[in-house]
């Protein structure tokens, strides 16, 4: 088993050779001794392959080193949220309002030529003890500035939505690479026994711009696909069909088990067979657990109000219910939750943050949906102590120009410098890393790539981004390709 590529079941370890981690969650084990036992702490640079029991693909697996975070929430604002109108305050932009950007005469970006610099459409003010300047576009999130760790110097490789969304979620601008959640659940499994290890929560308005690619496992085994569901739309095929009674269902499953166990007795060496029997048992437990996690009847009225679950705006209420679902999933040990704000392009700037033409009227619509529920989620995670071991990353595919597009009242795409923020386990609170130039056009200080971001997130989860790899078609593939450095400055 020295070379796992040879395993005929696609890198899933033969059960016989599986080091029995049994049912023990990591909590019950001294992690360092476990790691030492496997020799993983020994210096090395080769790939570290998770040992996966085919019958329990979601079982918790040890990280590469002591993690700072046990689970992760990625909040993805699709459409590209303007950093200059939200979190990246640029006094010079205000000062030079409606003048040409110096040195950028006739600058052509994604949709064409740019006009003059335009100051933020919402006023910025100092927030919290840190005095961080954020805008009135997202006031509730602004109030949490002391909890957040801003990276203002993020840069991406593409200035068009599809490839840029792919890069933020999968590390590559091309189609066909596993999402970060797939990498993490492949490496670490889950601490939840009965829920999928990786859940994607699409916005109530629809799937994100690159649709299911946001949570695809690509060449990783299908077990590590994100399972999409939200407060309005349960897991596909989860529920027992209405036409089948509970008794009939349970008798049928018992009969399946009877058949499969007989078959296993005839073919006793087949690990896939025993894995399948186990998968039917997990499916049954998942039916109960997924129904339970989606049932918010036990939540207090105060909690529901905090999130805005009863808001008359149905998109806001839907997103609020999704935020609540995210907390409930994290609470139950789901390893990776990806929460979407904004959907696919259903007309420019209608379904998401893509503000090319009339940003002043489009953004308040999206901000109203995002702000309160998202801030409530952070507060709730903190109040319940979950933020101590949950890592939160608030991301978008790229930023927007400090100029308006020529002949329009909106901002074009800008991957040269934009803002994302982190919060929770292992990251500095009330901290700002990196900066864009005086207008917010280009990252100039501590320039950070998406590879660096991914390396940092994996690091916080106890994973070495250079050693978490999967051999596919001639290459040891990584989330960070051949790039990436952990951004030490943001680590608490």
């Amino acid at each position: 088993m020295s070379d796992l590529r040879r395993s005929p079941v696609g890198q899933l370890v033969n059960r016989r050779n599986f080091l029995q981690l049994g049912g023990m969650g990591l909590g019950g084990v001294a992690l360092t001794s476990l790691l030492a036992e496997q020799g993983l702490l020994a210096a090395g640079s080769g790939p570290i392959r998770p040992e996966i029991d085919a019958a329990r693909p979601y079982a918790a697996r040890p990280p590469h080193f002591e993690p700072r975070a046990r689970r992760m929430l990625m909040i993805f604002c699709t459409g590209a949220l303007s950093h200059v109108d939200s979190f990246d305050f640029k006094p010079e932009l205000v000062k030079r309002h409606d003048t040409p950007m110096p040195g950028q005469d006739k600058l052509v970006t994604f949709q064409g030529e740019n006009g003059n610099l335009i100051k933020p459409l919402w006023d910025f003010r100092a927030r919290g003890q840190s005095g961080k300047m954020t805008s009135d576009l997202l006031p509730s999130l602004g109030e949490l500035a002391d909890e957040l760790c801003f990276i203002h110097s993020m840069t991406g490789k593409s200035n068009t939505h599809g490839p840029a969304e792919s890069q933020m979620s999968t590390g590559f601008i091309l189609d066909g690479f596993p999402s970060m959640g797939s990498w993490v659940s492949y490496a670490l499994g889950s601490e939840s026994q009965n829920l999928p290890a990786y859940v994607a929560i699409p916005d109530p308005r629809g799937v994100p711009q690159i649709s299911t690619r946001q949570w695809a496992s690509a060449f990783l085994p299908a077990a590590y696909q994100g399972t999409p569901f939200n407060a309005d739309k349960p897991i596909a095929n989860l529920a027992r069909p209405a036409s089948i009674s509970a008794d009939a269902d349970s008798a049928t499953r018992d009969f399946v088990k009877f058949l499969n166990e007989r078959h296993l007795a005839q073919y006793p060496g087949d690990t896939e067979l025993s894995a399948r029997i186990a998968s039917y048992e997990l499916a049954a437990r998942m039916q109960l657990a997924a129904a339970e996690v989606s049932d918010t009847r036990g939540e207090s009225a105060a909690t529901l109000a905090l999130y805005g679950v009863t808001d008359p705006n149905k998109n806001k209420a839907g997103f609020a219910r999704n935020c609540l679902l995210a907390r409930r999933l994290l609470e139950r040990g789901v390893r990776f939750v990806q929460l979407f704000n904004g959907a696919y392009a259903m007309g420019e700037g209608v379904g998401n943050w893509d503000g090319h033409k009339t940003i002043a009227t489009q953004y308040p619509v999206h901000a109203n949906i995002l702000d309160q529920p998202c801030a409530a989620l952070l507060r709730d995670l903190k109040a319940r102590g979950l933020l101590a071991d949950t890592l939160v990353a608030f991301v978008t595919e790229f930023g927007r120009m400090p100029t308006f597009q020529k002949g329009a009242s909106g901002r074009d795409h800008n991957p040269s410098g934009f803002t994302i923020w982190l919060a929770g386990a292992g990251v500095k609170r009330g901290f700002t890393h990196g900066a864009t130039d005086e207008f917010g056009y280009r990252a100039v200080k501590d320039v950070t790539s998406i590879y660096d971001l991914h390396a940092t997130l994996l690091h916080l989860l106890g994973l070495d981004h250079q050693r978490l790899s999967f051999y596919n078609n001639g290459i040891e593939r990584r989330l960070t390709d051949v790039h990436g450095h952990v951004v030490e400055a943001v680590l608490a």
Partner: protein, 931 residues
């Protein structure tokens, strides 16, 4: 050069790893390492370092440090070539070490970089001798078995016992055609197996299956994985390619007809040269980003990604090489230089994504006919000119002339001699005016368009909208129509464009349009008020036509050119009628002889120049690269720089299919092995390089490769050898006493690389769905044509894929006929490790998940088919629960139930009905796996 100034060589033995490599790393690699190779010198890999750079190679002269340019440079003996240029020179000690290392023979442990390094896959295919095996299991004499048994014997292992007839026929059906046999076919085979010669019975069955049209359907699905084929564009818009399916059908036909594999390659790369246009769907089967932008960087990157996909997929599919690794730097493991990468890219420099008309067999004949019709129509149009209304200047319409249109507009006027023509717009439908072409024709016979830039005319304008590559002043008289080759002014609702002819000309008509294209596209920016003036000198102007006498735009009348005999003699009116009738007829004929079915098989055209892109960045072109093949691999082939698009693709295809090519035959026989046994002899089917797996049975691989070539590249011959082998027929139940994990075979070879039992596995998604349909009795075996859709219809610009919840007979065809979108998996079978065609998938992962269980238990498709299955069983078996159970087991498992199975089943049927049993059988391991 004064060599006496060199520091002396160190006197001790030098160790490369300890003494030299760290020196190179700290001082040289930033310019001569993996990322940069200034002067083409690369010092991090043995082969390159010893070869040397462009100008001074070899830079290291073995045993002669004083003659080695490398030493001259670091010692500063060559003016302006002090190395390293930054960070200070080397110390005398360091130079002394380098000298000693070179003098001692430049010992460098092999790092696998050497182009001449031995690697099994670069060696020519040699036909090995078939081992002689004195073993009952090799009795059939099948060479495949002899090679395998020889290897097993080394481990003192042997094949497992043969599988029973039922297991074997089921296995043969699934791996060969991807469908189960009927209970009746099983019964017949069992009888022949029992009573006759087993090998004969198996041989007959294999022959029958390889001749089945379903064989091509199953194996096409494998090939479509390998070449990342899907029927949508990918990226966020992911729109459907309605005409991509003919490629899928071509692959099915190719496998069914046993198209020789060298020809299979040739047609996929250059089928347009052989009347099989759809085959080149291979080249453009991958994703492409259709979101276009005026940003030149984005545009260049998009093109570079397309070309990378064409070249990389070709190398991956046919050579099992990771060519794309040489896009930004020389390949780190395999002998593929960056230059090789760009040479192959240059072979595709004339290919673009898109649809092309499929030429019918009598294309030349039709083309001649079309040319004749065009000439007739040209003459006719000339004859009709006198019926075109002449523009009336100075009158106040609404006149006799039709309104303006997006397409062709004509302004005819009395002949006038002029050197200048000005077209001034004063109103548009909206925004700045756009004109795609402005033409001025000379009066009389042999009329010419004298406004063309190519006729020496020059265009000027009041203004031009900046920042758009497709809207330029030069486009107004470039002879090309359509919005993408047009001029737009930079003034709302107005603007003028002026043409100066090469010399004074007598003209009598002007033609112009906004978007003269076959497909209706842009109606905005249309000039609705304008005037046309001419001038002999550019000073004094005379108006010859205006929009004043046209019908108003947006009214009832259609735009375009009208003809009228008003005010002419009755004979003339009759003549016009005849002309119009003739035109209508000929135009219809022209459409019919020039309209061909479209296929998404790429657009072929002029080859753009190819440059080596520094670090793979399309904004950093370096030297020009001509078309070519991989220089380190046989056979040697050079492709002339001036080769056309078609010649380039043909050359590449012929090189790939040359019998001397060490990879092509090995790679394809290994793929066949991979799909039959679930794992290849080389377990990395698209990477035969140094980073890939080593063959478990190198001699067998080479024997099969040579056998393929010797058979005239017939793949069915290889299939037949594999399927009739004893190896394929052994039981999947592990050997004799080997069921226990601690058995000898398990201890020696737990992953079964030596094939001491048949490897059982779950069915892939497609045969699983097909089998449910076959068992339910609903499978529609119709072949070919447009695919069915597993997603709800959707016309959003960014296509949204929602899995359908109800299915009818249209969706009951085999899954290979699904119109397969890229990166979107349906919510029932997508969980079964279906590749999403975002990247090539030479090997599927295989996982077992609770979502698979939920999908098979609860999905609308599974329930519906369980219902149909139950109906079929009831029809076949009548009302008795026992008979029903027996029939259901026969159909699903191809066997009778055992006594306790019968009891349990009958109980279930009695309590909850037959559909409950059928739903359960679809979830049984025995149904889901090949074993």
């Amino acid at each position: 050069m004064d060599k006496s100034k060199l520091p002396p060589a160190a006197l001790r033995p030098v160790d490369f790893r300890k003494d030299i490599k760290p020196l190179f790393e700290s001082k040289c690699y930033s310019c001569h390492g993996p990322d940069k190779q200034k002067g083409q010198l690369r010092l991090d890999r043995k082969a390159d370092a010893l070869k040397g750079g462009d100008s001074h190679a070899p830079d290291i002269v073995l045993g002669k440090s004083a003659d080695s340019p490398l030493i001259h440079f670091v010692a500063g003996l060559v003016p302006d070539m002090q190395m390293p240029p930054k960070g200070g020179p080397l110390t005398s000690e360091q130079i002394g070490l380098l000298r000693a290392w070179i003098d001692q023979g430049a010992q460098w442990p092999d790092d696998g970089s050497s182009v001449s390094a031995k690697h099994w896959a670069w060696e020519p295919v040699k036909r090995p001798t078939v081992p002689t095996i004195d073993n009952r299991q090799a009795a059939s004499g099948n060479p495949v078995d002899r090679f395998l048994l020889a290897k097993l014997a080394e481990q003192k292992l042997s094949f497992s016992a043969p599988a029973d007839a039922r297991t074997l026929i089921r296995r043969l059906y699934f791996t060969t055609i991807g469908l189960p046999p009927s209970p009746e076919e099983v019964a017949t085979f069992e009888r022949e197996f029992r009573t006759g010669n087993r090998q004969l019975a198996i041989g007959k069955l294999v022959e029958k299956l390889l001749a089945s049209p379903h064989f091509g359907e199953r194996w096409a699905r494998h090939w479509l994985d390998v070449v990342r084929f899907a029927e949508s564009n990918g990226y966020e818009t992911n729109g459907t390619r309605k005409n991509a399916w003919p490629y899928r059908d071509w692959v099915i036909r190719a496998f069914n007809n046993d198209l020789p594999y060298d020809r299979f390659i040739l047609e996929q790369l250059a089928g347009d040269a052989f009347g099989v246009d759809e085959a080149t769907g291979f080249i453009v089967g991958g994703p492409t980003d259709i979101v276009k932008s005026p940003d030149p960087v984005l545009t260049a990157n998009q093109r570079a990604e397309d070309l990378n996909d064409f070249a990389a997929t070709t190398a991956s599919a046919f050579l099992g090489l990771t060519l794309h690794c040489a896009r930004c730097h020389d390949h780190k493991f395999d002998p593929i230089a960056m230059k090789d990468y760009y040479s192959v890219v240059a072979c595709f420099a004339g290919v673009r994504h898109g649809e092309r008309a499929v030429k019918p067999p009598n294309f030349a004949e039709l083309q001649a006919k079309a040319d004749g019709l065009r000439a007739q129509l040209a003459t006719l149009t000339k004859q009709m000119e006198r019926f075109e209304p002449v523009a009336q200047t100075g009158t106040n319409g609404p006149g006799r002339r039709p309104p303006v249109t997006r397409g062709l507009n004509l302004d005819r006027f009395p002949a006038v001699t002029a050197k200048f023509l000005r077209f001034s717009i004063t109103a548009t439908t909206q925004l700045e005016p756009c004109i795609d072409e402005l033409e001025a024709f000379t009066a009389g016979a042999a009329s010419r368009n004298v406004a063309l830039a190519s006729a020496g005319a020059t265009a000027t304008a009041s203004s031009t909208l900046p920042g758009n590559a497709i809207h330029k002043l030069a486009h107004v008289n470039d002879g090309q129509y359509g919005n993408d080759r047009s001029w737009i002014s930079n003034e709302r609702g107005k603007g003028w464009v002026q043409i100066e002819f090469a010399k004074a000309e007598t003209i009598d008509r002007v033609q112009w349009s906004r978007d003269r294209d076959n497909v209706p596209r842009y109606n905005d920016r249309l000039a609705t008020r304008y005037r046309i003036e001419v001038s002999p000198d550019g000073m004094a102007w005379q108006t010859v036509a205006t929009s004043d006498d046209r019908e108003p735009f947006g009214g009832k009348a259609n735009g375009g050119i009208t003809y009228s005999a008003e005010g002419m003699a009755p004979a003339e009116a009759k003549r016009l009628e005849e002309l119009l009738a003739a035109r209508k007829k000929w135009e219809a004929e022209l459409v019919s002889v020039t309209t061909f079915p479209m296929v998404y098989a790429g657009k072929f055209g002029q080859t753009a120049e190819t440059f080596l892109m520094h670090r793979g960045d399309p904004m950093q072109p370096r030297e020009k690269i001509g078309p070519g093949v991989l220089a380190s691999f046989a056979p040697k082939l050079s492709v002339p720089l001036e080769a056309t698009d078609s010649e380039r693709r043909l050359a590449l295809a012929k090189w790939l299919g040359a019998p001397e090519n060490p990879l092509t035959a090995r790679v394809i026989v290994n793929r066949l092995w991979h799909y039959h046994f679930g794992i290849g002899l080389v377990d990395t089917p698209s990477d035969f390089g140094l980073n890939g797996g080593r063959p478990s049975h190198p001699e067998l691989l080479d024997w099969l490769a040579s056998e393929l070539i010797a058979s005239g590249w017939r793949l069915k011959h290889i299939h037949q050898l594999i399927l009739t082998s004893a190896a394929f027929q052994q039981s999947s139940v592990e050997n004799q006493l080997s069921n226990r994990p601690d058995s000898r075979p398990m201890a020696l070879d737990s992953s079964n690389r030596f094939l001491w039992h048949f490897p059982a596995r779950r069915l892939d998604a497609e045969p699983l769905r097909d089998t449910m349909l076959a068992v339910s009795g609903k499978l529609d075996r119709a072949m070919g044509g447009p695919g069915f859709d597993l997603f709800e219809a959707n016309s959003n610009y960014v296509k949204v894929y929602n899995s359908r919840a109800d299915f009818g007979p249209t969706e009951f065809r085999r899954m290979v006929y699904q119109s397969k979108p890229r990166t979107e998996l349906d919510n029932t079978f997508g969980a079964f490790d279906c590749p999403d065609a975002g990247q090539v998938a030479p090997k599927r992962s295989r996982s077992t998940t609770p979502l698979q269980a939920l999908n098979l238990l609860n999905s609308p498709f599974a329930l519906q088919q369980a219902g149909f299955f139950a109906e079929r069983v009831a029809t076949d078996a009548g009302k008795s629960h026992e008979a029903q159970t027996k029939r259901a087991f026969q159909l699903a498992f191809l066997r009778e139930p055992t006594r306790d199975e019968l009891a349990a089943s009958t109980k279930l049927v009695k309590a909850y009905g037959l559909p409950a049993l059928c739903r359960a059988l679809f979830n049984a391991n025995e149904f889901l796996s090949v074993f």
